[in-house]
Symmetry: C2
Subunit: 515 residues, 2 copies
């Protein structure tokens, strides 16, 4: 992405399109995490976890449900027990396979200005995904539907800090499951110009997603092999299992050079051991198993290691997020992942039922730990609520504020002689004031971060304005962004080709839904 | 402080006193910050700021309003201009003086179990202080008064993570200013057993505070010299000025071996340069000037360097807190302060008008940055709202939750063979569940942090309970703690002596209020 709120001149300039908004957001920018990663684990501890995960892979094995996947792994020399479907991975094989995974790559968008740099010190944010419900102050909580789905995509397009949507922000259940990925693909392509996503729910959906992404990029399938333009999340069926649709996703996406983000859902105390070290060990084994399959299908295929280890509430079994354990796992996962020199996906999560103080402090635990952990791609960056059961419009705005604050915080401190400001102190004098100094006048407009949501009015003015709390203000802001939304310009030929493809596939009935 | 909610046997055990509460809080504990401090500034940058602050001290000077202070500094060889009241400090003098300041010390409480370790990797939290208003959901915002003042002190006593109050949580304006420090001293001594505080508002108040602290410790004035038992905050009158009451506070407290926390109020853009480096440079000059005076009065007197640099809203001039700039200043201040090998005071601050999401995310910015900055003492840890204009009862509970989460997060990750849990994975099996495993059963009760405020019920149960958001739940919790509050046991002889002293001083008319 390039800096600046407005487009650079080019094929789209004739429409003069720009994102208007009644609030001042940060410009589109490539976010670089300047913080040195925090080290919670010693080198020895990282090796202990690595070695324990190798022992899992070699001696306990991973259940691999898809025959084709077992066949690939068997051909690659791994020990396969067809009766139990368990594959025993050799550690030499794992490490050799992982050595081909790129440490950094570009994820290409339909609009090249929205290309994403994945890996290294880069940090990319994406909209909440895969929630069954949408929520706002006006309509309360409701089942996912296409209207809300489209509104979240419009926010994805309008908000500069969002690199992409990370799936369906909310599940539009009013679109039949057989054609949902096609209609949603149409919405992705028309309402945004950012990188699309495909769910790995059977091979045909992956293939449709790849074709839709290819069309909107305007390139050949051959070019797609070296230009990742689509991504998918693969969750292992923890503990120690990969199911068939996920394995099909790994195989098809890797075969086409598209991005697989492998994220074990290791909830400590439920699908993973109650100890953090145990949960991280299991996460590591599951992630490496899936990613090594991708590398076997196509060495060099872009993969991302997703860290999602959290804990459950041991009283109720409910998943908890943004906890102290989650924060530690997030920082420690970064250390583990850097051992394999591949990009790291994390999330901005919480378990609150409302966009209140709890939602904010749990989110901050997630955000700080992913910054300190050196994450590269952040799923659910904006809008996640209720442990992922709801996408909240107000929470989107709160998260944008929190993330913009993190981005500003990561900018280095300037200590050039001018910034040390001795002359300004001489000018202000003892007990004086700096506002009138030349030093301040030259800098005040850009010296500090300007919030979009935080309200710094004095109490009396705030009461006079109706005492609007953060939720109320967020409600106003998100609606103003939607009111000002403009569809981005697209290449008409590509859009026509896309619509033809989608219409044809829908006429064919889409995909079977009884897998 | 010792671990455990209940007292160890001893002189107080006969009353069987314990803090009861309807919520499970962390036990009293010595908090050790295990995070390695984050480095935002390079070594060169730290030296640049240090040298620039030395240039201020030597060539621009600090206005020192109190004749006695100028006299002390003149005797110590510093260049004093009596006409302008400006003292020009030699950098050799500054560094020699600072070399006597202890890097760590114990701040003694009336109850030795509440002694505080200041400095090193220790982290001490304290109640909000010095706000003119109190606030809760029931009574709204009201002018500070003794009832609210006492309720905040009761919370200070009941909450295990609070090492002390950090002044008057709210100003009890219904106590006449001439005797306020005496009546408040009585409340400190009776309602809590934690370290007391005295405001530096004229020499006599400092002396009264020292005497009250001495009585409650049951030691001699001679012993007080080496047993710090009281602390005060000294704010410079930024830019580059120290006023008379503050200078009297430095002199009297240092002379008696009591703790001076020197905190320049360097708001970037108002009382300090608009650049962060400039504000930090000024902060450093002001802090070193005041602390070197303390060291001149009594070499080795315990001092703490307070970092409070934030920025103003350049539109309105209102102070902002918990901003990206504040977080950077907090982390960078830690680097500067460690250069002088003395303890670091920070704060948990925000500028929200309500205990909402903004209050939470701005506070989290403060908390994370002070942990990463290696702060040792945290003023305003719980309850601060509205840029310090209100103390909020609900915010106290939110902050306790946020701080407890930080404390839990700082506990190291165990990677012993047992915690790697390979046997548990064998027992759970592929696609199984860990709840029933022996590994989980042995650990589940203490495996994870148990929140006091966060609500992890599912949405339906939460709605059935009336959809209580974090503010509503915090309101219920703080009132239940107050309802269960019990006055701590005190040595009757000390309390009698204290009351006699206070009654005598009140009969004398307290202190003049026309200074």
């Amino acid at each position: 992405m390039t800096a600046g709120n407005e487009r650079s001149p080019g094929r789209r300039s004739r429409r003069g399109h720009r994102v208007k908004a009644s609030f001042t957001q940060l410009p589109r920018q490539k976010v670089v995490n300047t913080f040195k990663p925090t080290e919670l684990l010693s080198e020895d501890q990282i090796e202990d976890i690595h070695n324990a995960s190798m022992e899992i892979l070699e001696n306990i094995g991973i259940m691999v449900r898809l025959p084709k996947a077992r066949e690939i792994l068997k051909k690659a020399g791994q020990k396969v027990d067809e009766d139990t479907q368990i594959v025993y991975f050799d550690r030499g094989f794992i490490m050799e396979a992982m050595s081909h995974a790129p440490s950094e790559f570009t994820l290409h968008a339909p609009n090249p200005e929205c290309d994403l740099a994945i890996g290294g010190q880069n940090l990319v944010f994406s909209m909440v995904a895969s929630t069954p419900n949408a929520m706002d102050m006006d309509g309360g909580r409701r089942t996912g539907n296409r209207v809300d789905f489209r509104n979240f995509l419009k926010l994805t397009q309008s908000l500069n800090i969002l690199g992409t949507s990370g799936g369906y922000p909310v599940e539009p259940v009013d679109i039949h499951a057989s054609i949902r990925h096609l209609e949603c693909g149409r919405d992705f392509a028309t309402l945004t110009e950012k990188v699309p996503y495909i769910y790995s729910l059977g091979r045909q959906r992956n293939l449709d997603g790849i074709e839709m992404a290819r069309i909107m990029r305007g390139i050949s399938m051959e070019e797609m092999l070296t230009q990742p333009s689509l991504f998918t999340i693969i969750n292992s069926n923890s503990p120690l299992m990969l199911d068939s649709p996920m394995l099909e996703g790994i195989i098809e996406m890797a075969a086409h050079g598209q991005v697989v983000m492998l994220t074990p859902f290791t909830l400590s105390g439920a699908m993973a051991p109650v100890t953090l070290a145990g949960a991280l060990t299991q996460q590591n084994a599951e992630a490496l198993a899936g990613m090594s399959l991708a590398q076997t299908v196509r060495p060099g295929a872009p993969v991302v290691y997703g860290g999602f280890t959290s804990n459950v509430d041991m009283k109720s079994g409910a998943p908890a997020f943004g906890t102290p354990e989650y924060a530690k796992a997030t920082i420690a996962s970064g250390q583990l992942i850097r051992r394999y020199n591949i990009p790291y996906r994390s999330s901005n999560v919480n378990a609150s039922n409302a966009p209140d103080a709890q939602a904010a402090y749990e989110s901050e635990m997630s955000l700080w730990s992913l910054v300190l952990g050196g994450a590269n791609f952040v799923k659910h960056s904006t809008g996640w609520l209720e442990g992922g059961l709801s996408a909240s419009f107000e929470k989107v705005i709160m998260d944008v504020e929190m993330i913009q604050m993190m981005i500003e915080m990561m900018k280095p401190i300037d200590t050039s002689p001018d910034s040390l400001a001795l002359d300004a102190m001489r000018e202000a004098g003892h007990g004086g004031h700096f506002f009138g100094t030349q030093h301040t006048q030259e800098r005040y407009e850009t010296a500090f971060y300007t919030p979009i949501l935080s309200d710094w009015r004095n109490f009396e003015s705030w009461v006079e304005a109706g005492s609007p709390d953060a939720m109320k203000r967020a409600n106003t802001i998100y609606k103003s962004i939607l009111a000002e939304y403009e569809e981005p310009p697209h290449d008409p030929a590509r859009l026509e080709e896309l619509n033809e493809f989608i219409d044809k596939r829908i006429a064919e009935g889409g995909v079977k839904t009884d897998f």
